[in-house]
Amino acid sequence: MESGKRSQIVGLTLVGAAFGAIELASAFPPTTLHRNLYADRAACERDYSPAQCEANSGSGSSSSGGGHGGGGYHGPYYAANRSATTASDPGPGRTGQVTRFETSARGGFGAFGRMARAVG
Protein backbone atom coordinates (compact mmCIF):
# COMPACT_ATOMS: atom_id res chain seq x y z
CA MET A 1 0.00 0.00 0.00
CA GLU A 2 1.36 3.41 -0.97
CA SER A 3 1.31 5.80 1.94
CA GLY A 4 3.11 8.85 3.16
CA LYS A 5 3.12 7.42 6.65
CA ARG A 6 5.39 4.43 6.26
CA SER A 7 8.88 3.81 4.96
CA GLN A 8 8.84 2.25 1.53
CA ILE A 9 12.06 0.36 2.14
CA VAL A 10 13.86 -0.34 5.41
CA GLY A 11 17.31 -1.48 4.35
CA LEU A 12 20.03 -2.17 6.90
CA THR A 13 23.75 -2.23 6.31
CA LEU A 14 25.24 -2.53 9.78
CA VAL A 15 22.53 -3.87 12.04
CA GLY A 16 21.78 -7.55 12.37
CA ALA A 17 23.58 -10.84 12.22
CA ALA A 18 26.70 -9.53 10.53
CA PHE A 19 27.27 -7.26 13.48
CA GLY A 20 26.22 -9.84 16.02
CA ALA A 21 29.55 -10.44 17.68
CA ILE A 22 30.80 -6.99 18.37
CA GLU A 23 34.07 -6.75 20.19
CA LEU A 24 33.52 -4.88 23.38
CA ALA A 25 36.13 -2.68 24.88
CA SER A 26 36.27 -4.64 28.09
CA ALA A 27 39.69 -3.36 28.98
CA PHE A 28 39.85 0.39 28.75
CA PRO A 29 43.16 1.98 27.96
CA PRO A 30 45.17 3.59 30.72
CA THR A 31 43.42 6.54 32.28
CA THR A 32 46.14 9.02 31.41
CA LEU A 33 48.46 9.07 28.43
CA HIS A 34 51.45 11.27 27.69
CA ARG A 35 53.31 12.03 24.51
CA ASN A 36 56.60 13.84 24.18
CA LEU A 37 57.21 16.93 22.12
CA TYR A 38 60.61 17.48 20.49
CA ALA A 39 62.27 20.46 18.90
CA ASP A 40 62.72 18.63 15.59
CA ARG A 41 62.24 15.32 13.86
CA ALA A 42 65.81 14.20 14.49
CA ALA A 43 65.36 14.55 18.24
CA CYS A 44 62.11 12.58 18.08
CA GLU A 45 63.69 9.81 16.03
CA ARG A 46 66.34 9.32 18.65
CA ASP A 47 63.56 7.99 20.89
CA TYR A 48 61.08 6.53 18.39
CA SER A 49 60.87 5.14 14.88
CA PRO A 50 60.32 7.58 11.98
CA ALA A 51 56.75 6.30 11.60
CA GLN A 52 56.00 7.21 15.22
CA CYS A 53 57.14 10.81 14.87
CA GLU A 54 54.69 13.33 13.49
CA ALA A 55 54.73 17.08 12.99
CA ASN A 56 52.99 18.76 15.92
CA SER A 57 49.82 20.58 14.99
CA GLY A 58 49.34 22.11 18.39
CA SER A 59 46.54 19.88 19.70
CA GLY A 60 46.81 18.50 23.18
CA SER A 61 47.40 20.01 26.59
CA SER A 62 50.91 20.97 27.46
CA SER A 63 51.92 19.77 30.87
CA SER A 64 55.55 20.63 31.14
CA GLY A 65 57.08 23.87 29.97
CA GLY A 66 56.45 25.80 26.80
CA GLY A 67 53.15 26.97 25.38
CA HIS A 68 50.35 25.33 23.51
CA GLY A 69 51.48 26.34 20.07
CA GLY A 70 52.35 24.02 17.19
CA GLY A 71 55.80 23.35 15.85
CA GLY A 72 58.28 20.59 16.48
CA TYR A 73 57.48 16.92 16.44
CA HIS A 74 55.67 14.62 18.80
CA GLY A 75 56.12 10.96 19.51
CA PRO A 76 53.36 8.42 20.22
CA TYR A 77 51.18 8.36 23.32
CA TYR A 78 52.38 6.14 26.17
CA ALA A 79 50.92 5.24 29.53
CA ALA A 80 51.62 7.85 32.15
CA ASN A 81 51.44 5.20 34.84
CA ARG A 82 54.44 3.06 34.02
CA SER A 83 53.14 0.18 36.13
CA ALA A 84 50.09 -0.09 33.84
CA THR A 85 51.83 -0.54 30.51
CA THR A 86 51.09 -3.10 27.83
CA ALA A 87 53.44 -4.83 25.38
CA SER A 88 52.48 -2.33 22.66
CA ASP A 89 53.20 0.70 24.82
CA PRO A 90 55.97 2.70 23.10
CA GLY A 91 57.38 4.00 26.37
CA PRO A 92 58.46 7.50 27.38
CA GLY A 93 61.70 7.64 25.38
CA ARG A 94 65.21 7.60 26.78
CA THR A 95 67.25 10.54 25.55
CA GLY A 96 65.74 13.24 27.71
CA GLN A 97 65.66 15.71 24.80
CA VAL A 98 61.98 16.32 25.30
CA THR A 99 60.91 19.97 25.21
CA ARG A 100 57.62 19.17 26.99
CA PHE A 101 54.96 16.51 27.06
CA GLU A 102 51.26 16.51 26.46
CA THR A 103 48.57 14.69 28.38
CA SER A 104 45.48 12.88 27.19
CA ALA A 105 43.09 11.57 29.82
CA ARG A 106 40.30 9.01 29.49
CA GLY A 107 37.55 7.69 31.68
CA GLY A 108 36.07 11.09 32.47
CA PHE A 109 32.64 10.05 31.23
CA GLY A 110 30.63 6.95 31.98
CA ALA A 111 30.53 6.83 35.77
CA PHE A 112 26.76 7.37 36.03
CA GLY A 113 26.10 4.87 33.27
CA ARG A 114 28.14 2.15 34.99
CA MET A 115 26.47 2.95 38.30
CA ALA A 116 23.00 2.75 36.76
CA ARG A 117 23.88 -0.55 35.14
CA ALA A 118 25.24 -1.94 38.42
CA VAL A 119 22.09 -0.94 40.29
CA GLY A 120 20.07 -2.41 37.70
Binding site: V10, Y77, T103, R106, F109, G110
Partner: protein, 370 residues
Amino acid sequence: MRRERLEPRPDWRAKVEALGLDFHTSEGEPYWWEAACYAFSAVEIDVIEAASETLHKMCLEAVDRLVEAGDFRRLAIPEPFWSWVAASWRRQDPGLYGRFDLAFDGSSPPKLLEYNADTPTALLEAAVVQWYWLEEVKKGADQFNSIHEKLIAAWGELRRRHPDTQLVHFAGVLDEPEDRRTIEYMRDVCQQGGWPTEQLDIAEIGWNGRAFTDLAERPISALFKLYPWEWLLQEKFGPHLLADPAAFIEPPWKMLLSNKAILPILWEMFPGHPNLLPAFFERDRIAGPCIEKPIHGREGEGVVQIAAGQPRLGGGERVYQALAPLPQFDGQHAVIGSWIIAGQAAGIGIREDDRPITTNASRFVPHYFT
Protein backbone atom coordinates in the same frame (compact mmCIF):
# COMPACT_ATOMS: atom_id res chain seq x y z
CA MET B 1 -8.03 1.88 18.34
CA ARG B 2 -8.16 -1.71 19.50
CA ARG B 3 -5.89 -4.52 20.59
CA GLU B 4 -5.92 -7.69 18.52
CA ARG B 5 -4.63 -11.02 19.72
CA LEU B 6 -2.47 -12.88 17.22
CA GLU B 7 -0.51 -16.06 16.83
CA PRO B 8 3.17 -15.10 16.91
CA ARG B 9 5.28 -16.14 13.97
CA PRO B 10 6.84 -19.52 14.87
CA ASP B 11 10.35 -18.22 14.16
CA TRP B 12 9.85 -14.69 15.47
CA ARG B 13 12.92 -14.83 17.68
CA ALA B 14 15.26 -15.56 14.79
CA LYS B 15 13.54 -12.96 12.66
CA VAL B 16 13.81 -10.11 15.14
CA GLU B 17 17.35 -11.13 16.06
CA ALA B 18 18.34 -10.88 12.40
CA LEU B 19 17.19 -7.25 12.58
CA GLY B 20 19.36 -6.57 15.60
CA LEU B 21 16.70 -7.03 18.29
CA ASP B 22 18.55 -9.58 20.40
CA PHE B 23 17.15 -8.02 23.57
CA HIS B 24 13.66 -9.29 22.75
CA THR B 25 13.47 -11.10 26.11
CA SER B 26 14.56 -9.70 29.46
CA GLU B 27 14.87 -11.75 32.63
CA GLY B 28 12.67 -14.43 31.08
CA GLU B 29 9.91 -11.99 30.17
CA PRO B 30 9.20 -11.03 26.56
CA TYR B 31 9.98 -7.47 25.57
CA TRP B 32 9.03 -7.77 21.88
CA TRP B 33 5.43 -9.02 21.95
CA GLU B 34 3.73 -10.06 18.74
CA ALA B 35 1.04 -12.19 20.34
CA ALA B 36 -0.97 -9.00 19.97
CA CYS B 37 -0.95 -5.83 17.93
CA TYR B 38 -2.77 -2.50 17.97
CA ALA B 39 -5.07 -1.55 15.12
CA PHE B 40 -5.92 2.08 14.31
CA SER B 41 -8.08 3.89 11.82
CA ALA B 42 -6.48 6.43 9.51
CA VAL B 43 -8.35 9.17 11.34
CA GLU B 44 -6.89 8.10 14.69
CA ILE B 45 -3.40 8.12 13.20
CA ASP B 46 -4.01 11.61 11.84
CA VAL B 47 -4.99 12.73 15.33
CA ILE B 48 -1.75 11.36 16.82
CA GLU B 49 0.31 12.90 14.06
CA ALA B 50 -1.29 16.32 14.43
CA ALA B 51 -0.95 16.26 18.23
CA SER B 52 2.72 15.34 17.94
CA GLU B 53 3.44 18.17 15.52
CA THR B 54 1.58 20.58 17.78
CA LEU B 55 3.47 19.45 20.87
CA HIS B 56 6.76 19.75 19.03
CA LYS B 57 6.01 23.37 18.11
CA MET B 58 4.98 24.12 21.68
CA CYS B 59 8.23 22.61 22.97
CA LEU B 60 10.29 24.79 20.65
CA GLU B 61 8.38 27.85 21.84
CA ALA B 62 9.13 26.82 25.41
CA VAL B 63 12.84 26.48 24.66
CA ASP B 64 12.85 29.88 23.03
CA ARG B 65 11.20 31.45 26.06
CA LEU B 66 13.53 29.68 28.50
CA VAL B 67 16.61 30.79 26.59
CA GLU B 68 15.32 34.33 26.38
CA ALA B 69 14.80 34.37 30.14
CA GLY B 70 18.24 32.85 30.58
CA ASP B 71 17.41 31.10 33.84
CA PHE B 72 17.47 27.32 33.93
CA ARG B 73 17.30 26.98 37.71
CA ARG B 74 13.95 25.19 37.66
CA LEU B 75 15.39 22.60 35.32
CA ALA B 76 18.27 21.87 37.75
CA ILE B 77 20.86 22.62 35.10
CA PRO B 78 24.09 23.78 36.76
CA GLU B 79 24.56 27.52 36.29
CA PRO B 80 28.01 27.28 34.65
CA PHE B 81 26.32 25.56 31.70
CA TRP B 82 23.47 28.02 31.17
CA SER B 83 25.11 30.24 28.56
CA TRP B 84 26.54 27.21 26.78
CA VAL B 85 23.07 25.64 26.50
CA ALA B 86 21.58 28.95 25.36
CA ALA B 87 24.29 29.39 22.73
CA SER B 88 23.44 25.96 21.33
CA TRP B 89 19.84 27.11 20.83
CA ARG B 90 20.80 30.47 19.36
CA ARG B 91 23.06 28.71 16.85
CA GLN B 92 20.10 26.50 16.00
CA ASP B 93 22.15 23.34 16.49
CA PRO B 94 19.91 20.78 14.81
CA GLY B 95 18.01 18.21 16.82
CA LEU B 96 17.59 14.80 15.26
CA TYR B 97 14.99 12.89 17.23
CA GLY B 98 12.62 12.86 20.17
CA ARG B 99 9.73 10.75 21.39
CA PHE B 100 6.55 11.98 23.01
CA ASP B 101 4.87 9.51 25.32
CA LEU B 102 1.14 9.99 24.84
CA ALA B 103 -1.95 8.66 26.56
CA PHE B 104 -4.52 8.03 23.85
CA ASP B 105 -7.72 6.02 23.89
CA GLY B 106 -8.72 6.53 20.26
CA SER B 107 -11.31 9.20 20.95
CA SER B 108 -10.11 11.84 23.46
CA PRO B 109 -7.23 14.13 22.45
CA PRO B 110 -3.81 12.54 23.04
CA LYS B 111 -2.27 13.76 26.31
CA LEU B 112 1.44 14.32 26.77
CA LEU B 113 2.83 12.21 29.61
CA GLU B 114 6.47 13.11 29.00
CA TYR B 115 8.94 13.97 26.29
CA ASN B 116 11.98 11.75 25.77
CA ALA B 117 13.91 14.35 23.84
CA ASP B 118 17.40 13.00 24.37
CA THR B 119 17.19 9.21 24.42
CA PRO B 120 16.39 7.01 21.42
CA THR B 121 15.19 4.03 23.45
CA ALA B 122 12.86 1.74 21.43
CA LEU B 123 13.94 3.31 18.14
CA LEU B 124 15.07 0.10 16.44
CA GLU B 125 11.84 -1.62 17.43
CA ALA B 126 9.68 1.19 16.09
CA ALA B 127 11.61 2.02 12.91
CA VAL B 128 12.65 -1.44 11.77
CA VAL B 129 11.31 -4.46 13.61
CA GLN B 130 7.65 -3.55 13.50
CA TRP B 131 8.02 -2.51 9.84
CA TYR B 132 9.25 -6.01 8.91
CA TRP B 133 6.50 -7.50 11.08
CA LEU B 134 3.93 -5.53 9.07
CA GLU B 135 5.41 -6.71 5.77
CA GLU B 136 4.95 -10.32 6.81
CA VAL B 137 1.94 -10.39 9.12
CA LYS B 138 -0.28 -7.53 7.92
CA LYS B 139 0.79 -7.16 4.34
CA GLY B 140 -1.45 -4.64 2.61
CA ALA B 141 -2.12 -2.70 5.78
CA ASP B 142 -0.42 0.58 6.56
CA GLN B 143 1.71 1.71 9.46
CA PHE B 144 2.52 5.12 10.88
CA ASN B 145 6.24 4.64 10.53
CA SER B 146 8.52 6.51 8.17
CA ILE B 147 11.10 6.82 10.93
CA HIS B 148 13.80 4.98 9.00
CA GLU B 149 13.47 7.07 5.86
CA LYS B 150 13.32 10.30 7.80
CA LEU B 151 16.41 9.40 9.83
CA ILE B 152 18.44 8.73 6.69
CA ALA B 153 17.23 11.99 5.18
CA ALA B 154 18.04 13.88 8.39
CA TRP B 155 21.57 12.52 8.57
CA GLY B 156 22.01 13.39 4.90
CA GLU B 157 20.93 16.95 5.60
CA LEU B 158 23.34 17.18 8.54
CA ARG B 159 26.09 15.90 6.26
CA ARG B 160 25.38 18.68 3.78
CA ARG B 161 25.40 21.30 6.55
CA HIS B 162 28.75 20.09 7.92
CA PRO B 163 30.89 19.34 4.87
CA ASP B 164 34.11 19.61 6.87
CA THR B 165 33.16 16.89 9.32
CA GLN B 166 34.52 13.67 7.89
CA LEU B 167 33.53 11.23 10.63
CA VAL B 168 30.75 10.93 13.21
CA HIS B 169 31.58 9.20 16.46
CA PHE B 170 28.93 7.29 18.39
CA ALA B 171 29.28 6.72 22.11
CA GLY B 172 27.26 5.06 24.84
CA VAL B 173 27.43 2.30 27.41
CA LEU B 174 28.29 -0.44 24.95
CA ASP B 175 28.01 -3.36 27.30
CA GLU B 176 24.31 -2.55 27.66
CA PRO B 177 22.74 -4.65 24.84
CA GLU B 178 19.86 -2.29 24.14
CA ASP B 179 22.10 0.77 24.00
CA ARG B 180 24.65 -1.02 21.84
CA ARG B 181 22.02 -2.11 19.32
CA THR B 182 20.40 1.30 19.23
CA ILE B 183 23.78 2.87 18.52
CA GLU B 184 24.43 0.35 15.77
CA TYR B 185 21.10 1.26 14.22
CA MET B 186 21.81 4.98 14.42
CA ARG B 187 25.22 4.37 12.84
CA ASP B 188 23.48 2.43 10.12
CA VAL B 189 21.16 5.26 9.14
CA CYS B 190 23.96 7.81 9.54
CA GLN B 191 26.11 5.86 7.11
CA GLN B 192 23.20 5.53 4.71
CA GLY B 193 22.92 9.31 4.98
CA GLY B 194 26.48 9.53 3.68
CA TRP B 195 28.68 9.82 6.76
CA PRO B 196 31.38 7.40 7.91
CA THR B 197 31.01 6.42 11.56
CA GLU B 198 32.94 4.90 14.42
CA GLN B 199 31.78 3.88 17.86
CA LEU B 200 33.39 3.79 21.24
CA ASP B 201 32.31 3.36 24.80
CA ILE B 202 31.45 6.61 26.54
CA ALA B 203 34.24 5.86 29.04
CA GLU B 204 36.77 5.59 26.22
CA ILE B 205 36.36 9.20 25.17
CA GLY B 206 39.57 11.06 25.82
CA TRP B 207 40.36 14.69 26.55
CA ASN B 208 43.64 16.09 25.25
CA GLY B 209 43.30 19.54 26.72
CA ARG B 210 41.56 21.06 23.72
CA ALA B 211 39.15 18.50 22.35
CA PHE B 212 37.52 15.20 23.09
CA THR B 213 39.36 12.39 21.32
CA ASP B 214 38.75 8.85 20.13
CA LEU B 215 40.93 5.83 20.80
CA ALA B 216 43.29 6.85 18.01
CA GLU B 217 43.65 10.26 19.69
CA ARG B 218 41.83 11.95 16.82
CA PRO B 219 39.75 14.94 17.85
CA ILE B 220 36.02 14.14 17.80
CA SER B 221 34.24 16.70 15.65
CA ALA B 222 30.71 15.25 15.80
CA LEU B 223 29.48 13.03 18.61
CA PHE B 224 26.22 11.12 18.77
CA LYS B 225 25.82 10.23 22.42
CA LEU B 226 23.39 7.75 23.84
CA TYR B 227 23.97 9.05 27.31
CA PRO B 228 21.91 11.62 29.22
CA TRP B 229 23.12 15.18 29.23
CA GLU B 230 22.50 15.48 32.97
CA TRP B 231 25.02 12.71 33.57
CA LEU B 232 27.64 14.17 31.23
CA LEU B 233 27.42 17.54 32.96
CA GLN B 234 28.08 16.05 36.37
CA GLU B 235 30.93 13.73 35.44
CA LYS B 236 34.65 14.41 35.61
CA PHE B 237 34.92 15.63 32.01
CA GLY B 238 31.76 17.70 32.27
CA PRO B 239 33.52 21.06 32.54
CA HIS B 240 35.43 20.27 29.32
CA LEU B 241 32.13 20.42 27.43
CA LEU B 242 32.30 24.19 27.74
CA ALA B 243 35.60 24.30 25.85
CA ASP B 244 35.15 21.45 23.40
CA PRO B 245 34.37 22.40 19.79
CA ALA B 246 32.49 19.21 18.83
CA ALA B 247 28.92 19.15 17.54
CA PHE B 248 26.71 17.00 19.75
CA ILE B 249 23.67 15.00 18.77
CA GLU B 250 21.35 15.66 20.48
CA PRO B 251 22.51 19.26 20.97
CA PRO B 252 22.84 20.80 24.44
CA TRP B 253 19.56 22.76 24.17
CA LYS B 254 17.69 19.45 24.10
CA MET B 255 18.39 19.11 27.81
CA LEU B 256 15.72 21.78 28.33
CA LEU B 257 13.18 19.33 26.90
CA SER B 258 14.53 15.99 28.13
CA ASN B 259 13.62 17.12 31.59
CA LYS B 260 10.25 16.67 33.21
CA ALA B 261 10.36 20.26 34.40
CA ILE B 262 9.21 21.04 30.86
CA LEU B 263 5.79 19.62 31.78
CA PRO B 264 4.80 22.37 34.24
CA ILE B 265 6.53 24.95 32.06
CA LEU B 266 4.39 23.91 29.09
CA TRP B 267 1.30 24.04 31.28
CA GLU B 268 2.24 27.57 32.40
CA MET B 269 2.60 28.64 28.78
CA PHE B 270 -0.40 26.77 27.37
CA PRO B 271 -2.86 26.31 30.24
CA GLY B 272 -5.80 24.11 29.34
CA HIS B 273 -4.30 22.92 26.09
CA PRO B 274 -6.08 19.72 25.02
CA ASN B 275 -2.82 17.80 24.52
CA LEU B 276 -1.43 18.66 27.96
CA LEU B 277 -2.20 17.52 31.48
CA PRO B 278 -2.12 19.98 34.35
CA ALA B 279 1.41 19.90 35.77
CA PHE B 280 3.12 21.90 38.51
CA PHE B 281 6.29 22.13 40.52
CA GLU B 282 4.25 22.09 43.75
CA ARG B 283 2.29 19.07 44.97
CA ASP B 284 -0.50 21.12 46.50
CA ARG B 285 -1.49 22.69 43.18
CA ILE B 286 -3.27 19.43 42.29
CA ALA B 287 -6.14 18.61 44.60
CA GLY B 288 -6.79 15.11 43.37
CA PRO B 289 -4.53 12.16 42.76
CA CYS B 290 -1.43 12.87 40.74
CA ILE B 291 1.76 11.41 39.40
CA GLU B 292 5.03 12.47 41.01
CA LYS B 293 8.01 12.42 38.63
CA PRO B 294 11.66 13.17 39.27
CA ILE B 295 12.72 15.72 36.69
CA HIS B 296 15.59 13.53 35.50
CA GLY B 297 14.03 10.08 35.86
CA ARG B 298 13.93 7.80 32.83
CA GLU B 299 11.89 4.77 31.83
CA GLY B 300 9.48 5.19 34.70
CA GLU B 301 12.24 5.41 37.29
CA GLY B 302 11.02 7.11 40.45
CA VAL B 303 7.52 7.73 39.05
CA VAL B 304 4.84 7.14 41.66
CA GLN B 305 1.14 7.74 41.96
CA ILE B 306 0.00 9.88 44.90
CA ALA B 307 -3.51 9.70 46.25
CA ALA B 308 -5.67 12.79 46.72
CA GLY B 309 -4.55 14.72 49.77
CA GLN B 310 -1.34 12.74 50.15
CA PRO B 311 1.82 14.89 50.40
CA ARG B 312 4.82 14.56 48.12
CA LEU B 313 6.78 11.37 48.55
CA GLY B 314 10.27 11.85 47.16
CA GLY B 315 13.01 14.38 47.79
CA GLY B 316 14.89 16.44 45.25
CA GLU B 317 13.55 18.09 42.16
CA ARG B 318 10.15 16.67 41.21
CA VAL B 319 7.10 17.67 39.26
CA TYR B 320 3.46 16.76 39.73
CA GLN B 321 1.16 15.88 36.88
CA ALA B 322 -2.58 15.32 37.08
CA LEU B 323 -3.44 11.66 36.91
CA ALA B 324 -4.54 10.48 33.49
CA PRO B 325 -5.01 6.74 33.82
CA LEU B 326 -3.62 5.00 30.76
CA PRO B 327 -6.36 3.52 28.60
CA GLN B 328 -6.65 -0.22 28.92
CA PHE B 329 -7.05 -2.53 25.98
CA ASP B 330 -7.63 -6.19 26.72
CA GLY B 331 -6.42 -5.52 30.27
CA GLN B 332 -3.19 -3.86 29.12
CA HIS B 333 -2.16 -0.27 29.77
CA ALA B 334 -0.87 1.17 26.51
CA VAL B 335 1.36 4.18 25.88
CA ILE B 336 1.94 5.65 22.43
CA GLY B 337 5.55 6.65 21.75
CA SER B 338 5.31 9.23 18.97
CA TRP B 339 8.59 9.98 17.21
CA ILE B 340 9.70 13.36 15.99
CA ILE B 341 12.51 13.12 13.44
CA ALA B 342 14.15 16.37 12.31
CA GLY B 343 11.10 18.32 13.39
CA GLN B 344 8.44 16.10 11.79
CA ALA B 345 6.11 13.53 13.28
CA ALA B 346 7.48 10.30 11.83
CA GLY B 347 5.78 7.32 13.42
CA ILE B 348 4.80 5.53 16.58
CA GLY B 349 5.73 2.59 18.76
CA ILE B 350 3.46 1.19 21.45
CA ARG B 351 4.47 -0.10 24.86
CA GLU B 352 2.03 -1.96 27.06
CA ASP B 353 2.07 -3.28 30.59
CA ASP B 354 -0.15 -5.03 33.11
CA ARG B 355 0.74 -2.19 35.49
CA PRO B 356 -0.35 1.42 35.13
CA ILE B 357 3.18 2.88 34.92
CA THR B 358 5.32 2.17 31.88
CA THR B 359 8.87 1.03 32.65
CA ASN B 360 11.83 -0.27 30.69
CA ALA B 361 10.32 -3.75 31.09
CA SER B 362 7.04 -2.83 29.39
CA ARG B 363 6.45 -4.80 26.20
CA PHE B 364 6.79 -3.34 22.72
CA VAL B 365 3.77 -4.28 20.59
CA PRO B 366 3.55 -3.61 16.82
CA HIS B 367 0.73 -1.71 15.16
CA TYR B 368 -1.00 -1.13 11.84
CA PHE B 369 -3.78 1.03 10.50
CA THR B 370 -6.34 0.77 7.74
